[in-house]
């Protein structure tokens, strides 16, 4: 084994604390389920501006899908984790586990 194999690569998109929190929360929802922006914001205790910035980065990486729709007459922004995002999150947690318990 070479030195680089021992340290798993951590996904820089998820590695930032705020985005890790966003992706972690979204990971408990079923694949096709979407959550409204204000409710996600409330759960994560982040400001709307801050959450928007991080969602845009995650969207850029193809990890989340943000859709704008209408609920009656009120516009609503819905967020969901994409399959790609879920895979990235699973890889990330597996990498963390590997860092904690390095294969001997």
């Amino acid at each position: 084994m070479t030195g680089t194999d021992e340290i798993p690569e951590l996904d820089p998109v998820i590695h930032a604390q705020a985005r890790l929190r966003v992706v972690s929360a979204l990971s408990v929802m079923r694949e096709a389920d979407r959550i409204a922006f204000p409710r996600l914001q409330e759960t994560l205790r982040m400001t709307a501006g801050n959450l928007s910035v991080h969602l845009r980065k995650l969207e850029g990486a193809g990890y989340v899908e943000v859709t704008k729709t209408h609920h009656g007459r009120t516009p609503m922004t819905l967020v969901r984790l994409t399959r790609r995002g879920r895979l990235a999150f699973d890889d990330y947690t597996a990498a963390l586990q590997a860092l904690l318990n390095p294969p001997s």
Partner: protein
């Protein structure tokens, strides 16, 4: 690791895993309706409502507590309506601002309950004039409890929720035993065993929340 912006990553993997679990539990908790509010109102309604029916129409035609014949079932229906409102609001709040297959499933399941209960009530009401009070309460009680048991089992199948399925199966068996024991015994058996089952499930479900 090169951060792609100024948001600082955590240095310790254990700390990161703790953060992940915390945020997962956070959202899961708000998406899961409080099991106490989902089951206790029904358990209490069954305990009190069927308990009163037993006290008024005890085995052998005895009256353990004297009260008008219409009172126990009226109280049961009022308590069941109250329970329906509490669980409707609780379930609705948990599903608020969420869209997708899960909320559609929840809505369809809720509609199934309303339609089934309405259909049964209209059918049973046809027998009001021809059945004596104690038989009527067995028909209503036995029919509604059978429906509840079956819908809980179906709910368990739908959400792959073993506890809900077991509650439904337990309720169904208790109901059958009660019906076979007959007029007088059915309400007591259902009140204690099936009502009690709901109280237990509400408690264990709450204890297991993430």
């Amino acid at each position: 690791m090169t951060p792609i912006d100024d948001d600082r990553p955590l240095d310790d993997p254990a700390e990161s895993l703790r953060l992940i679990r915390e945020e997962q539990a956070n959202l899961a908790r708000t998406l899961t309706p409080d099991p106490r509010l989902m089951y206790w109102p029904w358990g209490i309604a069954w305990l009190i409502g069927f308990g009163l029916i037993f006290l008024r129409f005890a085995p052998g035609g005895r009256v353990l507590v004297d009260m008008p014949a219409w009172l126990p079932s009226t109280i049961l229906i009022a308590l069941l309506l109250a329970a329906g409102i509490v669980t409707g609001i609780t379930g609705g709040r948990a599903g608020r601002h969420v869209a997708g297959p899960s909320s559609r499933q929840g809505l369809m399941y809720g509609l199934t309950w309303s339609v089934a209960v309405t259909g049964m009530s209209i059918l049973f009401a046809q027998f009001t004039a021809v059945l004596p009070d104690d038989r009527q309460s067995l028909l209503w009680g036995g029919g509604m409890v059978a429906l509840t048991g079956a819908l809980h089992m179906a709910g368990g199948a739908m959400w792959n929720d073993r506890n809900l399925f077991v509650l439904g199966a337990w309720t169904s068996v208790v109901n059958i035993v009660g019906i076979l024991f007959g007029v007088g015994w059915h309400p007591l058996i259902v009140a204690v065993l099936a009502g009690g089952g709901m109280l237990v499930l509400g408690y264990t479900g709450w204890k297991r929340l993430p």
